[in-house]
Assembly symmetry: C2
Homo-oligomer: 315 residues x 2
């Protein structure tokens, strides 16, 4: 199926698993080199001295065809022998680092220690895994999502998400470093040249908000002259994955498609929702389609639906 | 078989595989807590940002019963999945880091970065693996064996040993940092309290010399009032393992039992040689026994032979 409008420059903002799947669909449907993904690094943290970038790696592994087919994160057929030995040393192995995944983290940490910026390192890793889409961290600086909870007080993102399995009640989210973090090299250029901007079906508060917390990115989006659309991470009041609905409820936001559309109000020109939400009336132009991505075929189909629709918006 | 003389304090100087085997034999034969091993850290190096201590780990894994039964170094049944992935990233994987072994290196590096000294880290790792003998690095400072070669110029130890498989011709050895390196906490106390000191069957130039390059250790050995004996790393003109004979030849030293005895002249009171070398006349008192350690039983038997003999020397 040919696209009405062939985009040459598309930017997607993506968090982890859901965003990575749509990014893979977009990469498959767009011309070679057309897609730039701005990835969330608000989840990044140091673990045993390693610089771990969970969302960047999820996108990278998914685009490389290496992602674990069930989890969506990590590498397919990875093992956890290093972790087994860490446990033998009496360490708390709450964060799952696979042996293959370790190579990525070790290289990244080693190169960061040599003074290379994260964006350059990410480009290098992607290139070596044969990823042709361009993956940029939102920033080369530190900008960390922190979670204030009723039960545990302030938690780093990974403590909240992995150690406590997002069970504590969120009272507030903050993005530490947002005052000073600059966009990584290439981010503003990509946004300036984009013919369309897509907010992937990622958690608005945990994945998209940290990207928007970089002031210059937020300003570039506000100043855009091209369509910006979002794909809902919620279907019929339930999150496709993770704590989207739970956190929106805890923060007093309406936790459904209308709530997400409202959260993105002013930022997006169109919103893509699932057929299950066809009755919901939204302020934005709306594309109703099947937004579940269970297979690679689904990803490509959804990407194509979204691109065709933006092409119409665009004309 | 009971020992004539029960030692309560013995110090062994050990390098890698050969030294580790005798250390394990000594640990099995001596009373609990009697053995202190001073390990060589001249081989330590940074690899992908990890602080690798090959000789310390060989001793630790051997004492813990985890060592690879054929190689002698590394962990039995280890895998190399992280390395496979590093190779996929196009990296040169000349240094074999097993996935289980990575946990050791990651923990050590992480704790060093927190400011803990290597001696404390080594004690902690050993304790967690159930090692009851005390393993001390010779120094917590940097003291690196470097190898000057005819073909490749100056090489770091691991480049010489692993990358180039000890094939270049050695013209000179140096121990960088020897002017300033201090003994690790506990080393001088252990030597002062020792009732006997044993130089394990390790490479004199690559494993024992770096330990002796720490001035205060050399001086403590010179000032000892207890027997110091060495076990030959050579049998009938052939090294038990590694480049001992090759390097001694290249440096113009006599590369046999007499050459090693001569190298240790003034340092040792007795020398343990294999039955194959029973005809060699040495200046030191000599114990002739089977010094091959093919099995754990061999290690215990050799340790017992040596301890009995030192007991006689001692009386």
């Amino acid at each position: 199926m040919a696209l009405n409008h062939t985009f040459r420059r598309v930017v997607a903002l993506a968090g982890g698993v859901g965003g990575a799947k749509l990014a893979a669909g977009l990469a498959a449907r767009l011309p070679h080199g057309a897609l730039t993904i701005i990835g969330n690094t608000g989840d990044d943290f140091r673990h045993y001295g390693l610089h771990v970038s969970p969302d960047l790696d999820t996108v990278m592994y998914t685009l490389a065809g290496l992602a674990h087919p069930i989890n969506g994160w990590g590498i397919a057929d990875d093992t956890r022998r290093m972790l087994e030995m860490l446990a033998r040393y009496g360490e708390d192995t709450w964060f799952g680092l696979g042996d293959l995944d370790l190579a990525t983290n070790l290289l990244r940490t080693h190169w960061l220690a040599q003074g290379k910026p994260l964006s350059q390192i990410t480009a290098h890793l992607c290139e070596r895994l044969g990823v042709t889409a361009r993956l940029l961290p939102m920033t080369d600086d530190s900008l960390a999502t922190v979670v204030y909870t009723a039960e545990q007080g302030k938690l780093s993102f990974q403590e909240y998400f992995v150690r406590y399995r997002w069970q504590p009640t969120v009272t507030r989210l903050a993005y530490e470093g947002e005052e000073t973090a600059q966009p990584a090299a290439g981010v503003l250029e990509a946004l300036a040249q984009a013919e369309a901007i897509i907010l992937c079906p990622s958690n608005p508060l945990l994945s998209i908000a940290p990207i928007l917390a970089v002031r210059a990115i937020r300003e570039a989006l506000a100043a855009r002259r091209v369509p910006c659309v979002a794909i809902s991470p919620i279907i019929a009041g339930a999150a496709l994955k993770g704590p989207t609905v739970k956190i929106m409820n805890e923060l007093g936001l309406r936790a459904d498609v209308a709530g997400v559309a409202s959260y993105y109000d002013g930022l997006i020109d169109g919103f893509v929702v699932d057929e299950a939400d066809r009755e919901v009336a939204l302020k934005q132009q709306t594309l109703i389609t099947n937004i579940r991505m269970m297979t690679p075929t689904d990803r490509g189909r959804l990407a194509e639906d979204v691109l065709l629709w933006i092409g119409d918006l665009h004309q």
